[in-house]
Symmetry: C2
Subunit: 204 residues, 2 copies
DNA sequence: TGGATTATGTATCGATCAATACAGAAAGGA
DNA sequence: TCCTTTCTGTATTGATCGATACATAATCCA
């Protein structure tokens, strides 16, 4: 089925990537249609024809972010041989990703829309769901560590998953404040210091 | 010097408190003048006459927040007899404050304006400065712990201060996601598990 | 070559944004 | 009582918000 009508003159995927960067830097509310169209190199009717609405564009942008940026961070979780290494590599990848030069600092999922009442509810709900999924991924990896005997049976996977997910969220704000990579790695060191104590006693 | 002219018919301090709550719930960008005047029970000319501008109102609101809500959290730092208890109480107070019913969840200083480019720069700078001051307060308390012999001389106070400040920031996002008090306390437990390891080895 | 379909650029929509002009009201000082 | 000063409420400012109407251009199918 070849496309009918006048063909699009811009690269939809490239435009979406630009939009993602704008949302990433400015948040959902802070990114105006003018900001977006300027970065995407198109006029607003083209934006609406291709993406539907600002809200739909944001949802596509977060999906792209999760697929591209998220994978770099979260793939470490599955690949590492032990739960401990998985968590440490996940946090170190976070430190690296959040302090890349030439990109917005911190995480689009964590910082994109934190104020429910003002943004459209669907945006906040989508980000909240993605954050919850991240905690779930941590939880599953920790439970695997228990199942494989790496961690004691009474290890509190839920507490640890909540803790490490929260540390990662804090690192987004830390990165937004201009923290260097070494400062982010200091946070990682602190968070990993908790590992031994939690693993020894079954969550402190 | 008695006041001249028609006296103000509303309580400036009470109106500021209402404005603080609106900014706290919606952030700087998300709080419109209409939102603010509705909550404050005044019309916009009264707002501008009393506070100057939205930006100036926000700065006064953050000052009030720091003085009232902040003191509840940070006073624990000075009062506790040991650095360890100081940090733990500080985090537990944070968990309590961030999950109070009937108030916005999380911290105004942490969540009020995270996107530099869109908000006015002065707002972000003010919040960033306050966040930096919080880390400084933690750092001073930890250094006191070293000076008093509670902590080893090679304890990395800077790393620990960064770590605990970052955990607190993460707890703001966690609270915004609807985390219960016990979930926040789980994060505190995780963070305090790091204490022993850091104190033993000189920061992991 | 025409008709159908889709994209593009200009120009603009009503709503809302932060911020004020203005006239009348309420106080003190003369 | 009159003048000055300050606050209040109504109404409105220009700018910008997200989203479209409309005419034209470019492609496919017949």
């Amino acid at each position: 089925m070849p496309e009918r009508g006048r063909p699009r003159t811009f690269d939809r995927a490239a435009a979406l990537r630009r939009a993602m960067e704008v949302f990433w830097a400015k948040g959902y509310e802070g990114a105006s249609i003018s900001d977006l169209t300027a970065a995407m190199g198109i006029n607003s009717p083209s934006l609406y024809a291709a993406f539907g609405s600002k809200e739909a564009l944001f949802l596509e942008a977060t999906e792209l972010y999760t697929r591209v940026e998220g994978t770099e961070i979260w793939s470490a979780l599955e690949k590492a041989p032990t739960a401990r290494q998985a968590v440490e590599r996940f946090l170190r990848q976070t430190a690296r990703a959040y302090s890349q030069t030439g990109r917005p600092q911190g995480c689009l999922i964590a910082l994109g829309a934190l104020h429910q009442d003002s943004s459209r509810g669907a945006i906040c709900d989508d980000l909240r769901r993605r954050r919850a999924e991240n905690r779930e991924a941590l939880l599953r990896r920790l439970e695997r560590g228990v199942a494989e005997g790496e961690l004691p049976a009474d290890f509190d996977c839920g507490t640890a998953a909540t803790f490490y997910a929260t540390v990662q969220h804090g690192m987004s704000i830390q990165a937004r404040d201009g923290a260097s990579r070494s400062a982010l790695l200091a946070t990682v060191a602190g968070a990993m210091a908790a590992w031994i104590a939690m693993a020894d006693t079954g969550a402190a």
